[in-house]
Amino acid sequence: MLKTIILTDIKQNIQSLKLQVTFIIMLVVFAVGSIAYVFQCHDAKEDYRSYYSKMSDKIRKDADVNITRVAVERNDHLFAPLSNGFIEDAKSQFIPNNIQYNAYNVYGYSISRKTSNPYLYLSNELNWGFIFSILSSFAILLLSYDAISGEREQQTLKLVLSNPVSRGVVLFGKYVSIIISGVLMVLPGLLVSLIILILSGTLKMSSLLTFEIFGFTAVGILFIATMSALGLFCSVVSRSANISLLISLTLWAAFLIFSPNLAVFAADQLFKVKNSETIQNEVNTAMDAINKAAPEGSWSMMGDNPFFPKHELRAKNQTNLVNAEKQIKDEWYNSQFIQYEKASRFTFLSPVSIFGMASESITGSGYPRFHKNWDDMHTYQNQFLAWFKAIDAKDPKSPHWYNPQEDVSTSKQKIKFEELPLYSERLMTIPQRLTKALPGIVLLMVYSFLLFGITVVMFNRYDVR
């Protein structure tokens, strides 16, 4: 019986106008998005390559001068474009993509938008994440809002229920059929997109990419299931299909607009962080205090003589300055991360946001990527410093007074560029991604179970007349 219900419903859905329209829109957007991605991906890679070679040239020049220069000069690490940008870009335009560091400290992060036109409106990329979270969620709601209330209006619900089936089975059958229709709606577009990407040579299959594609699709289907449950819920809430529609659209708009805005609101009001001016003032006060307390001669310098005795004082003073700034700033950065994480919990009211979170974890992009790089950069910086100190320790011509800001009182040896330990991004591993995505996946499941459960209860009390 369940099978019959599912099959008839799927058949009905496939013949319906809404599924056909959605199907066409999906195909168009998938195709347009992939073609645009092919062009953009090429450009982005070119741009990054030229940026990277410039960056390396700079470090090479420093290395030609001496090793201290390499350790002291502040460099920027700009994140490379990901090869899975067609799946989900996780608002990368708004996530920090640049970290400043030298051997002594990781100084800060920023959002670097070197490549885009500031006059253009920032928009969503037409990637899979966008299609799933906006187009397919909308289509699913349209597909499911009238599953019950619509049948009631057409008087067919009575007939269905006159068969020897329980209401739960009918509802479950409808639920499954909506999910299957939803998947049928999305999958062809997804395949078209994959084919375009593979034929254009943009995509180089690897095990990681396969994981990303399948993982994303799986989370996407789970999301479709959640949205279907939501649509069914809307359809039992009201006796008229029109009202169901309005409720589901309201919820949809609220999930898209209200929940991110609410998160910002909550962050601003509930979890305040210090503003940049306060921090700058704190840093300045701390630095002034250090400079005042510094013994006389701390600022003396003799460029060509590393062993000039006052260089030791100078190095100490500079180290104190850097440490003071580091302490204040690191605390501030951490409070920012915590604020972001807490605020983003507010968006978990919305399945769309949960889906976004899960998919950015699966694809290893967005905030998780930034945060991992931030942590990795700290590890790298410590290793880099240890490496530098080891070389410096072997140099008899160095007084070993470590000055984090200037090339004064440490080794003047030249170093080959190839021997330098450069930072390179390590992408998140599959287990890491899965653990990050797990809360989102569980939440989506809980969401669907709860919604479906409530729907069953309500449907049992539903007046079919």
Binding site: T22, T115, N117, S123
Partner: protein
């Protein structure tokens, strides 16, 4: 008769649950949106004030004319609360340099203290309104005809002695009237919130802007009502009507804007800022050889007692001997005009870059004209002074200001004067090194020879010349320059008359679309089969 039909529609809608839900939706979305934007605006104002203060202080502290590099800080537009446009994508300050013209804004782009929060893609009033009223327009109109037909009431209605056109107009007016309270409520809510927030002050021009947006949003709503009607007339059942109109809505509001940006990026290629900067540096190479040629003949150019150097050929000198001062002056007199000429030369490259950016933006805008909601939000951003065009006007004004400043410098022959690089009066320049040593060492060394001797005796130390303060040689002792005669930058203020020409195209397009739509609705209604 029109009035009667309208009234019936109105009262029907008012009592419906649709209306109640729409109202709740507005009450939920609008306040949160406005409060978030308001918060953002407040923090923008705060950074503006801090930056402005810093810029003013810096300018007022200038002791020489080469330190006069005014930083123009643009205040955030109060109307950006309604529509952010592209204003948050560029820095809000511009430094006026002699060697290079202003390209784009500088400084931080983040309004929020935590840049991570930018990723919560909060959308502004105009966009929320566009999403809401277009949706409501469609939902209230999609079953006007097909619904009545399905109920069988349409035949009855038309059996009355009324023209079809009267019925249509009556129905449109009715829907319009029932949506108007919601729309007005949105505006009242947001204006009330802004009214009670202490930091927001609207000028008359701003109010006019709001009024224009208000009027425009009615047109926008009318457009979607008409669209819903057309769909309702063309579709066989009200169910098909709603599906088609909702997908149109999705397409116009969510898909097409993204496609237009994507397409424009593929159609018009822009150079990277890095590449432009590289080209500019190449262009400067000639200039730098000329600089070398000039300094080759100046032997004492690099000798200085107390001097500061900085960006854009800022140089401040005090206490140097007359011959050094004179060479400094000659250098500036020759070199600054060359730099100005090269700034013009570099501008050719910069303009090509900017033109490309503009071309891309224009392409995106023209492509997005296929979506009425995009036209509406462009219109909003233009009226709010946050569109790309408004930003361009801002930078254009900054460039014009630079020209006036340059003219002022040239006319007053400032490049050729000592005041360009030293706060010291010409009469107090010392003529010989001996004199200077004498003063600085409190008379212990009478001349250069004695100084050299002292130096030899004390193992190369030159402490002796710090024994007595040579007051004229300390930059910090000089008062700042009197810059009251300097041309002042007039802050750009949004004037409603200046933004009207800007929105002309958008208005024409949306009106044309609207009229075409109305004609189609009329034709379809005449041909409509009521059975």
């Amino acid at each position: 008769m029109i009035w009667r039909i309208a009234k019936k529609e109105f009262s029907l809608n008012l009592l419906s649950r649709k209306f109640a839900i729409a109202l709740v939706l507005c009450l939920l979305l609008i306040p949160v949106t406005i409060i978030v934007s308001l918060d953002n605006y407040n923090s923008l104002v705060r950074t503006y004030q801090i930056d402005k203060e810093r810029a003013d202080k810096e300018l007022k502290a200038a002791r020489v004319y080469s330190a006069v590099k005014p930083i123009l800080v643009f205040p955030p537009q109060p109307l950006s609360i309604f529509c952010q446009g592209v204003s948050n994508q560029m820095g809000h300050s511009v430094k006026i340099r002699l060697g290079e013209k202003t390209l784009l804004g500088e400084g931080s782009v983040n309004g929020r203290d935590n840049p991570l929060l930018m990723s919560f893609f909060s959308i502004d009033f105009i966009h929320v309104l566009a999403i809401l009223i277009s949706l409501l327009g469609l939902i209230f109109s999609f079953d006007l005809f097909s619904g009545e037909k399905e109920n069988g009431t349409f035949k009855l209605l038309l059996s009355n002695p009324v023209k079809r056109s009267t019925v249509i107009i009556g129905k449109i007016v009715g829907v319009f009237l029932s949506l108007a309270p919601i729309l007005i409520l949105c505006y009242i809510l947001s204006i009330l919130i802004l009214f009670f927030s202490p930091k927001v002050h609207f000028s008359i021009a701003d109010w006019l802007g709001i009024l224009t947006i208000f009027v425009a949003s009615f047109f926008f709503m009318a457009f979607f009502v008409a669209l819903g009607l057309l769909v309702s007339l063309k579709s066989r059942s009200s169910f098909n009507g709603i599906v088609v109109s909702l997908f149109l809505w999705l397409w116009f509001l969510f898909v097409w804007p993204n496609i237009s940006v994507y397409a424009s990026q593929s159609l018009v290629r822009t150079e990277m800022l890095d590449q432009l900067q590289q080209a500019l540096r190449n262009c400067e190479k000639d200039m730098l050889t000329k600089k070398e040629e000039i300094t080759k003949n100046l032997h004492f150019y690099n000798v200085c007692w107390n001097c500061n150097d900085g960006e854009d050929e800022y140089r401040e000198v005090a206490g140097s001997l007359r011959r050094t001062m004179e060479e400094q002056r000659r250098f500036k007199e020759q070199y600054e005009p060359i730099r100005l000429a090269y700034a013009d030369k570099k501008w050719q490259l910069q303009r090509a870059y900017l033109d490309n950016l503009n071309k891309q933006e224009r392409t995106a805008r023209y492509i997005s004209f296929f979506s009425p909601s995009e036209i509406f939000s462009h219109l909003g951003s233009m009226l709010c002074g946050t569109s790309a065009i408004s930003q361009q006007i801002l930078y254009e004004r900054a460039r014009n200001y630079r020209e006036t400043l340059v003219n002022y410098f040239v006319q007053n022959k400032i490049f050729a004067s000592y005041k360009y690089f030293t706060p010291q009066a010409e009469s107090t320049f010392l003529n010989t090194w001996d004199e200077q040593i004498n003063i600085a060492s409190c008379g212990e060394c009478k001349n250069g020879k004695e100084f050299e001797e002292w130096k030899r005796k004390h193992g190369g130390s030159i402490d002796i010349i710090y024994r007595c303060l040579y007051k004229d040689g300390i930059l910090e002792n000089y008062p700042p320059l009197n810059i009251s005669a300097l041309p002042i930058f007039n802050q750009y203020s949004l004037s409603i008359t200046s933004s009207f020409p800007l929105i002309l195209m958008e208005t024409t397009v949306i009106l044309t679309l609207f009229l075409i739509l109305l004609a189609m609705v009329y034709k379809a209604s005449i041909l409509y089969d009521v059975r």
